[in-house]
Symmetry: C2
């Protein structure tokens, strides 16, 4: 292995510092003048654009349409749903002046848009014929967090929020479940990150939801990241906001609702699962640029680079040539830092021997390939292989850091040695969750539904256990 | 012509009412609980998504990259550029509370992002090698307007704002001009709206710019709409914010900047140029749905509908079948209200005579076509024809409402009879602009550069004229 990039702290030495180094040297994001509000730089934003395009296509295939609701919510409107207010009140930003005038009703910058969707739906849903409403929006939201970290927890962040209304509880519950499966698919197939899907406990569920399903992944350092949640609201919001309809039996009823969202936090997850001490590592399916071609030497190398590049682009592989006046060594390092999955080096000397060199970013492995190879097919196959290998590597690591515990002592031992996911039985009471929290902040990640019990006693209190729960330290 | 849609006021009776009727019945937007902050409904947002995708592709072809800067700007940072502050201070919204705490430095919700880009560029531009920076962002902005109208003037709106930094003034000026030409191309080729490009007067230019180029269109009622501006900043902002670089001669210099933007207001322009008393009319190139197929009667009609639909979709024509249980008449009206450019009616009776019916939304013309026609080619040709016809019709109307005037009396006569664009010479002084404004609010739209003088005297004061100016009443 070559020498490590000097600007990057080793992830095994100081993971937090390594993370911010990667964000900086790969030009993903920078701090702004307002604490917790980051600047997403072009390299970072390109990843978000690719995430958006893949998820948006999937949402639309499933019948959803996009819309755009306002940034501002009047305090009086927000107050209608008490649980939601209690959940978000401490962390919203308030607009109190418009132009040079004090406002009568303060406006909060949306931390999420349930209230706004309900307020809209109540005027636009009258009959079961108006249902379902399968709306989604891509937008920015703001939560006045105390501790912030680029992508993982920022005051302003970008996300999508789906808000649907249905005529029956079954339909709404199916939607809730379908959308968490979409997030899991996205993590698995696109981001090459294994994740666990389950139900949040009462304490950890979304304010105002009947229940929350969550998509949970484990980072390189064994810390858990919640990325993607899907909430079943039942009739709680429709009751509070008066969203009624006439059902097929000609009776008035409140609609059944869901909401589901995922955010720019996924970029943080990508970094913390796959990247290394040389910089960013991206799975080919989410990499905004998939192949870089670096010609070294005479005209022949440049001509071949051009030919290969054209060929790849024609086959929808996002390739580019680095023909800047920087040194080859500098170009290699830059491609590595930026996480370009495949680097093709075309050297004049190699060309005389009829070969070119492929370098895999994930393994840094060099592969010599004959010029006569079908390059498009080779690149496609290699991208698939990288994608699969990255997933398998992440999964092996996750599995290695997933433990079982049967009492608090075991939990303590694990969390003090090497944090990770801990599977343990739980009696269902909040006091036991709070006890777990005393161990380095260990929280329930999710209840594994329909799973086999691994014990009959609660890991904390020893009383009869109800559910198998995955626990972890969280971002 | 069929009977007019009862929910729509005639545009020749009450244009303002007609406009809001169209916005409502075509489900483009709705009002929210906050004055001036609209809800963009799926039908309206789909138009914005198509605008975004076409413009974004063009921006990227020209070398631009996207990023995302924060929503909030500290008051102290905003204050660095005095002209900008003076221009926007009366119309920004202020965040004064974060969570439950009063903020020391008030935060304004971005009305535009020059200050933020400068603050970012100053840390990321060091040498001419770092230039040019060709950044753009798609986002929401907020301006605390007093008078609001859906799409045309709202407090929150969506837009893109390009912010570029260059090593030379020439390069920056070329960028400024290139981008206004992109907007003009977009209006001409995609929106089928003829527009005029010119320079804003000192009074009308963007606060803090050296000069502003603008794209100006004329609505059905003769009122002008500014849609798309491109600003050349020279070194004004870089001076105020300290954005310096080492040039090729190894000397420190301030960068040369531009910014350019266009907004959801274009949706308002589309409505006011093309739509009619039957609902929305959209040029095929911007229509989110281009063809609707309505089978009427037996199985054969449905089978053929399916076949044609598959065929069109395969050729990248956005087509869909309306096989809901509504009556054919209802479906026809709905397709008209929603502005689907082409409607294909497949009736069982017609099918026996080997024909189907095409209906053009722009002219409401019905065309019988043999089933044996190459439907894909026919639709493509028809879409091109509709696109061209719509442009020509809009241009003829615009030209008919473009006048010349040589004195104030003539301006008054025109504006009192039928407002439109007035071409008239101007001496260059602000007092004359203010005098013009007394005539129904007539304002300079833009200076026509390099154009032939039509008089040697100023239309207002009669003193020697400097420029040919287009004047109009504005939205």
């Amino acid at each position: 292995m070559e020498k490590q990039n000097k600007q990057i702290t080793s992830r095994d030495v100081d993971f937090a510092k390594w993370y911010t180094d990667i964000v900086k040297v790969a030009h993903l994001a920078d701090y702004s003048a307002v604490k917790g509000c980051i600047i997403i730089e072009p390299n970072g934003y390109a990843i978000w654009e690719k995430m958006q395009s893949i998820l948006d296509k999937k949402f639309k295939e499933l019948g959803h349409v996009n819309c755009q609701l306002p940034l501002l919510i009047p305090e009086t409107l927000l107050n209608k749903e008490k649980e939601l207010v209690l959940g978000f009140a401490p962390e919203v930003a308030w607009v109190t002046m418009g132009g040079e005038k004090q406002l009568d009703d303060r406006l909060c910058i949306r931390p999420t848009s349930e209230t706004l969707f309900c307020d809209y739906y109540k005027d636009h849903i009258h009959s079961y014929r108006d249902l379902p409403k399968l709306y989604n929006q891509w937008c920015n939201v703001l939560r006045w967090e105390k501790e912030t970290r680029p992508f993982l927890r920022s005051r302003e962040f970008l996300w999508q929020e789906g808000h649907t209304a249905h005529a029956t509880s079954i339909e709404a519950e199916l939607e809730t479940r379908q959308m968490i499966e979409v997030y899991k698919w996205f993590f698995h197939d696109i981001l090459a990150i294994p994740s666990i899907v389950g139900k949040k406990t009462e304490k950890e569920k979304f304010a105002g939801a009947e229940y929350t399903l969550t998509n949970e992944a484990l980072m390189y350092n064994g810390v858990a990241l919640q990325a993607g949640t899907s909430h079943y609201f039942g009739q709680k919001f429709s009751n509070a906001y008066g969203v009624k309809f006439i059902n097929k039996d000609n009776k008035e009823e409140f609609v059944y609702q869901t909401s589901w969202g995922t955010t720019t936090r996924m970029i943080g997850g990508l970094i913390m699962v796959h990247s290394d001490d040389y910089g960013l590592v991206l799975p080919p399916r989410i990499a905004p640029k998939q192949v870089v071609i670096i010609p070294i030497g005479d005209n022949d190398a440049h001509l071949l680079a051009q030919q290969i590049n054209d060929n790849l682009l024609e086959h929808d592989i996002v390739s580019y040539i680095d023909d800047s006046d920087k040194s080859p060594g500098f170009k290699f390092a830059e491609a590595e830092v930026n996480g370009i999955p495949i680097r093709i080096e075309i050297g004049s000397r190699d060309l005389k021997l009829n070969k070119i060199t492929f370098v895999r970013r994930d393994t840094l492995e060099k592969i010599e390939v004959s010029v006569d190879t079908d390059i498009v097919k080779y690149v496609k196959d290699l991208m698939n292989k990288i994608q699969t290998d990255m997933y398998n590597k992440a999964k092996a690591r996750r599995d290695n850091m997933t433990f079982e515990a049967h009492n608090l002592k075991e939990v303590e031992d694990i969390m003090n040695k090497q944090p990770g996911f801990i599977k343990a039985m739980w009696c269902g009471c909040e006091e036991c969750e709070l006890k777990m929290k005393e161990i380095r902040g260990t929280k329930s990640r999710c209840i594994l539904e329909n799973s086999k019990a691994i014990d009959d006693k609660c890991v904390v209190c020893g009383k009869p256990a109800k559910d198998l729960v995955v626990w972890g330290i969280q971002y």
